[in-house]
Symmetry: none
Subunit: 226 residues, 2 copies
DNA sequence: TCGATAAGTGGTTAAGTATACAGTATGTTC
DNA sequence: GAACATACTGTATACTTAACCACTTATCGA
C-alpha cells in the first residue's frame, strides 16, 4: 500500500483539513505556502503531489482549490468493516468530534489522515462520552438501526460488557458488532439475519477492542436520509 | 428581515449545497451556469448576489469558489419554505436545536411547552438545515433505521417530494412516514412490514406537512444504544 | 401605462490559481 | 560516494475565476 506521511506532509495535510472545516473550501497552493511559511507555492505543489501519491488526498487537475479528501466513496465492503491506511496520532480536536472514514490495517484509528471532518458536538453529549465518530460500512447492524454511512459515536475503552455494541479489530479489520464473552470464547453478533456470528477463541486469535458504541448520527453534511 | 428565495434562486442554492456535499468545495460561477443551463456566468453571479442579499450564502470577494453557507450566524438566514408555515415560533435558540417530545393534538409543534431540552448542534449541520429534533415514537420506520426514542432532525417546509421522509399531521396526530403523491391522492408509507400504508384523499381529508426528515440522532443524554 | 424586479445573453478584464522548469541543500541507503 | 528522496527557493506561463458593463425580455403590482 502506501507509506506513512512525513512530519512535514502531515502538517500540510492537517492544514488542508483545518481549512476545509473552517472555511468550507480547500486552500490554494499559495495559501498553503503562506500558512506553512514557504516562500514559493511550488513547495506546496510538491507536497500535494506527495500526499496524492500516498493516497491521503485526491487532486482534481486544473481546478482551483481542487483538493479532495477521499472519504465517502462507496466501496464493495460486505461487512460493517472499514478499509486501509497508515499511522500517526491526533492532537486535541479543534471543533468537536473527529469523524473517521477509512481506517487502515495495522494503524490506529485516531490517525490524522483518517479524519474527514469534525462534527460540532461536544463529547459529553453522549454517555459515556464519545471520543470519535466512525463512519459505518455495510449493513450488518441494520436491525438495530445502524446503517451504511451512519456515524457511530464511539467511547474508547477496552472494558466492555456482554450485550454492548463494540468496535473491534479482528485480523486488522475494524468491525462493529454486539459483544458476548464466555470464558476464552468471544462471539461477535451481527444484527442482521444475513450475517453469521463470528466466533473468536482468545487462546489462538487476537481481538482488540477499540471502544463501545454510544450513539448514532445520520444525515449530517449532505448525507441523504431514507 | 429578508425576503424568501424565488424558485430559481432556490435551485441555485440547492446546487451549491449539493456541490459542496459531493465534491467538498463550492462551485464557480461557470459551473453554476452550466448546471442550471445559463449561457453566461453572469446569470450565476447575479443569483449569487441575490442569495447573499437574502442571507442564504456569504460571498468571499475575489476568491475562487468563495461561497460559504453561514453556519454559526443564524441571523437573517431565511428559507423560503418556512415563511408559509404558522408562526408559533421559537426564538433563535442560543443552545442549539430544540428537542420536541410529546406534541399535543391541535397545537403547533414548535410551542415552548413541548421543548424538552436543546441539542448543541448547529442547524446547518444538516442539509437542508434542521429546525428542530422530534423524538420518535413507535417502530413504523424501523427498516430505515429510525427507532423508538431516536431524535429525527426536521427541516420545516410544506414543499415535499415523493419518496421523502416527512413529518405530517393527520387528524391532529403527528406522524413520520415516507411520502408519495398522485394527484389528489397521498400515500404515507411506513418502513416496517407490520404497518399498512395510509391513504389520504386531499379532497375529503386534510393533511398538514410539518417538514421533512434530514437526519437522525440516537444515544444522546443517557439514551441507550442497542 | 409605468416602474420595479427577476432572469437572462454576451463580452471584457484583472486577479487568482495551477503547474511547469531550473536550481540548492540535506539527509538516507547501498 | 553515487543514487535517490525530501524539502525547499525563484521565476514564468497559461488557464481559471470573479466581477464588471451594456443590453434584452418577461412578469407583476400600482
Amino acid at each position: 500500500m502506501s507509506r506513512p506521511l512525513t512530519a512535514r506532509q502531515q502538517h500540510v495535510f492537517d492544514f488542508i483539513v483545518k481549512t476545509m472545516g473552517e472555511f468550507g473550501y480547500p486552500p490554494t497552493r499559495a495559501e498553503i505556502a503562506k500558512a506553512l511559511g514557504f516562500r514559493s507555492p511550488n513547495a506546496a505543489e510538491e507536497h500535494l503531489r506527495a500526499l496524492e501519491r500516498k493516497g491521503a488526498i485526491r487532486i482534481i487537475r486544473n481546478t482551483s482549490r481542487g483538493i479532495r479528501l477521499p472519504n465517502q466513496e462507496p466501496q464493495e465492503v460486505v461487512d460493517s468493516t472499514i478499509s486501509a491506511l497508515p499511522a500517526a496520532n491526533i492532537e486535541a480536536s479543534p471543533a468537536g468530534l473527529p469523524v473517521i472514514g477509512e481506517v487502515a490495517a495495522g494503524s490506529p484509528i485516531l490517525a490524522a489522515e483518517h479524519i474527514d471532518r469534525y462534527c460540532p458536538l461536544p463529547a459529553e453529549y453522549f454517555t459515556p462520552k464519545a471520543d470519535y465518530l466512525l463512519r459505518v460500512r455495510g449493513l450488518s447492524m441494520k436491525d438495530i438501526g445502524i446503517l451504511e454511512g451512519d456515524l457511530l459515536a464511539v467511547h474508547r475503552t477496552e472494558r466492555v460488557r456482554d450485550g454492548q455494541i463494540v468496535v473491534a479489530r479482528l485480523d486488522d479489520e475494524v468491525t462493529v458488532k454486539r459483544f458476548k464473552r464466555q470464558g476464552h470464547q468471544v462471539t461477535l453478533f451481527a444484527e442482521n439475519a444475513d450475517f453469521a456470528p463470528i466466533e473468536i477463541d482468545l487462546r489462538s486469535q487476537s481481538l482488540d477492542i477499540e471502544g463501545v458504541g454510544v450513539g448514532v448520527i445520520r444525515g449530517g453534511n449532505g448525507q441523504a436520509l431514507g
